[in-house]
């Protein structure tokens, strides 16, 4: 891609995210979201493959519709209450509209249909940006308006997201689509707790971003995009393969890895709020996701192709892995003992 266009896209991504996160007025929040949407479109369609172009069009349509819903909700609220403050959203129509608009932006069920195809059509680094950084402004808006959202709608969308994220990920062989469904499932966990304890939503989002960044960077270093490639990746970098297994299990939420912390705290808080049925249901539905994470971990590490024993690791590695993967991998597997520090810092 043209370096100048890449620079403008990258700068606008940073600018749009910063504008939305630091805004008090609905207009600035909406402007930041629109700048983000516009800036990432050329990055998605960078490879000029028909699938990539279709992905960019789908992304643009869904995000533009969601942004206009955010604008409508803020305008209805401004008409009836006379002010544009993000934290003072009181009109019931606005609250309902905003809940649905943020669900569309994030990819919560039933507005999740665009997400797997958009991730599949983009390159691995663009998919990383889509899963982590592009979720940051809508989560910020969700946090700022957490007291104004509709609890019934949020809880039902969250449980449906955990269900569909787990179920629909079961039949996938392309890893970007699997990670899209994992993202939908994690968003369900984030959405279910936001009314009771918004800080736990933030903890879940930060830890999920860190683990997903690790996975995408690892996949980018070993050029893995589907399960068949994953089965032979142990010959390229055996150590990275082993840590990929640990990171996948951390995403699944298995103790004693880091990914267990958000799920544990969320179940704890839900039970304290007498939402035991919701906690049980969402935990059971996460077991579906656990199956495909385990399958991925199995294919990454435990399967050996029928090679001879003197044909083990390849002698030549194309791309040396950077230090970021090492740091992120350690953090995404070993942060559970530091949970009191995490809770008090975030």
């Amino acid at each position: 891609m043209n370096p100048h266009a890449k620079l403008i896209s990258a700068l606008s991504l940073i600018a749009g995210t910063s504008i939305t996160i630091s805004s008090n007025h609905w207009m600035m929040a909406w402007t930041g979201l629109e700048i983000n949407t516009l800036a990432i479109i050329p990055l998605i369609s960078k490879s000029h493959h028909p699938r990539a172009i279709e992905a960019s069009i789908k992304y643009f349509l869904v995000q533009a519709a969601a942004s206009s819903l955010i604008l409508f909700s803020s305008m209805v609220n401004a008409w009836f209450t006379g002010q544009w403050d993000i934290t003072q959203l009181t009109h019931p129509t606005s609250c309902l509209l905003l809940t649905m608009a943020i669900a569309m932006k994030l990819g919560l069920v039933p507005f999740h249909f665009w997400f797997p195809e958009v991730l599949q059509g983009s390159s691995l680094i663009t998919a990383l940006l889509l899963s982590t950084m592009m979720k940051f402004p809508p989560i910020t808006i969700l946090l700022l308006t957490s007291h104004s959202l509709s609890p019934t709608l949020l809880t039902s969308m969250a449980i449906a997201s955990a269900a569909l994220g787990g179920w629909m990920g079961l039949n996938q062989t392309q890893i970007r689509k699997i990670l899209a469904f994992s993202s939908i499932s994690h968003l369900g966990w984030m959405a279910i707790i936001i009314i009771y304890d918004p800080k736990l939503t933030l903890v879940t989002f930060y830890l999920y971003s860190m683990m997903t960044t690790t996975i995408f960077l690892t996949l980018n270093a070993t050029k893995i995009t589907k399960m068949t490639t994953m089965m032979t990746s142990w010959t390229k970098t055996p150590m990275l393969n082993a840590t990929l297994m640990l990171t996948l299990l951390s995403l699944a939420g298995l103790p004693p890895l880091t990914g267990f912390l958000p799920k544990w705290l969320i179940i704890h808080e839900l039970t304290k709020q007498e939402m035991t049925a919701a906690a049980t249901i969402i935990t059971m539905l996460s077991l579906l996701g656990l199956f495909f994470y385990l399958r991925l971990a199995y294919y990454a590490t435990i399967t050996l192709p029928p090679n001879s024993t003197n044909h083990m690791k390849q002698w030549h590695i194309n791309k040396p892995t950077g230090i970021s993967i090492a740091i992120l991998t350690s953090m995404s597997a070993l942060l559970l003992p530091l949970s009191p520090m995490i809770l008090t810092t975030i």
Binding site: N2, A5, S9, M28, T31, H48, W79
Partner: protein, 173 residues
């Protein structure tokens, strides 16, 4: 006067119905013109004449002109007009949605006409909309810069998407 403003609202809805029933763009643009003229009239009825003229200028003089140029480049050999069965079907479906929505939403009782739009404070001396534009350039300069960057970014994104003629993402014929 009330009935006239209601009629303008009806024209707006009919114009958007004409666009949404998916005829060929040559015929859909008629709906766009009707909707924008009715929208300008509605803004006039609220009292903000400057904003109404800005909408007229930007929409009809800017967007519609660009639309006409791009449609003339990508011409349709067999355009679907209003009499096409597909268009009639879409139009009937959307009309049904409109009627049900108006009945459920209680369009008649909550229609408050003549309500002054929301105000920012006591800084405006003459007219609401005109002084609002002045505020955009003075105290609201942050928003102005951000909006300007957004529009410039749109230009760069579109240029990047159609770059490369037939090898581009969206083919620049």
């Amino acid at each position: 006067m009330t009935y006239f403003v209601l009629f303008l609202g009806l024209c707006f809805v009919l114009g958007s119905l004409a666009v949404a029933s998916n005829p060929s763009p040559y015929y859909g643009v008629v709906g766009l013109v009707l909707a924008s003229v009715a929208g300008c009239g509605w803004l006039l009825s609220l009292g903000i004449s400057f904003i109404s003229l800005v909408l007229f200028m930007v929409y009809l003089g800017g967007m519609l002109v660009v639309f006409v140029y791009s449609v003339s480049l990508a011409a349709d050999p067999f355009p679907q007009a209003w009499g096409d069965w597909r268009v009639v079907g879409y139009g009937a479906g959307f009309s049904l949605v409109l009627i049900v929505g108006a009945a459920v939403g209680g369009a008649v009782e909550c229609w408050k006409l003549g309500v002054v739009s929301v105000d920012g404070g006591g800084v405006f001396s003459v007219r609401l909309d005109f002084s609002g534009v002045a505020v955009l350039y003075s105290e609201g300069v942050g928003m102005f810069l951000v909006a300007g960057w957004g529009l410039l970014l749109t230009l760069f994104v579109v240029l990047e998407l159609v770059r490369g003629l037939s090898r581009g993402a969206i083919r620049a014929v």
